[in-house]
Symmetry: C2
Subunit: 205 residues, 2 copies
Amino acid sequence: MKRIERLSVYRRFLQEIAGSEPGSVYSHELAEKTGVTPAQVRRDLMEIGFAGHTKKGYRSAELVAAIGNYLDSPEGDPVALVGLGNLGRALLPFFAGHHPKLKITAAFDTDPLKTGRVICGCRCYPFDQLEEVIAEENIRVAILTVPAAAAQKAAGRLAAAGVRGILNFAPALIRLPKAVTVETMDITIALEKIAFFARRSGDES
Amino acid sequence: MKRIERLSVYRRFLQEIAGSEPGSVYSHELAEKTGVTPAQVRRDLMEIGFAGHTKKGYRSAELVAAIGNYLDSPEGDPVALVGLGNLGRALLPFFAGHHPKLKITAAFDTDPLKTGRVICGCRCYPFDQLEEVIAEENIRVAILTVPAAAAQKAAGRLAAAGVRGILNFAPALIRLPKAVTVETMDITIALEKIAFFARRSGDES
DNA sequence: GTATTGCTGTGATCGGTTTCACAATTCGCG
DNA sequence: CGCGAATTGTGAAACCGATCACAGCAATAC
């Protein structure tokens, strides 16, 4: 659902301005800074049961807490990174320490040259130990950055090992039981789409 | 529009199986392999004006051509990559030679250590030369992988230089005239969303 | 105290996508 | 040739998210 993404965005903005503001925000401010309409902000906050105050807006600190309470697992979630190619290795520093609730705690690869070490505070295991480590660390969320040809198989093993959500960067269709959430970020397709619209909009060459 | 993405996906599948199949596909095959419904495939192809044959499906080679004709600019599009951090550098080999129509032909960074060389066949320029190079190479599409704080400014310069479509990886809201298409791929937010659904679906711990 | 302002909460509405469902068509087979 | 099976093309309906528009209310001004 799109609302979840917007809540994340609201939270990020609120955290950015934390301290430097009067302690409350109006729906129209949040909307403006976040690229949506004020009505949508109000509707979103209504849906998570967070009430503002007429004429005073929403108390920022409490709103951040409410969003966190709604979105996050209280203890935080350990995340597995599967595939240490260029993209996988780039993602490690992206998350290293940056997120209070989501931490990449285990990485996997088939290449023995890459396993055994610790990169950005994350231990790298051989692919074989996937089930074992995921069970041990109680991992429920994974990022998949393996080649397309290996994606479905890896995803299947992840799901079987107990993973319930996968962020897939491989340009491949992943088919899993509906109990597992899969979101594919296909960079090539996104770029093709953008090139398409770029060509259409106000073509003035 | 979502249809554009699906067309890309259809095409990819068709190219994967090119040769190894009887020369035509049914809507239900395409649907099955691509994760959508047969009706949607038919509707999508109808919308781009591609007709199939009753009982024989769609001629694959012609369909690939029709999709290409609809999606791609005939000569292909040069793409700029702005920001050579971890993610930017990971993206270069991703596209290097892999796509017939989209090629990253210029990269930019402020760090003089990174500029001046050629990585994966792509020349790296200092950030100052952005306008110049974009005009010279007639670049209309860009990938933005700079830190969030620099994103809006860089996007503004790109747009002013003539770029009409931006794939933004920075976790920041980009505000540009509507003639410029901006698509933000926010990895952190995608992961937060997945963690949210992972926690909800069939919570059996 | 009363009027005015301006913000929240939300029922109603709108617009775009997806899905349904079926007529039209073609092929294979007897 | 004509029947049955299978597939396309598409109008109509259903669905879903976003937007509108306004009632209700709290703060402030006078």
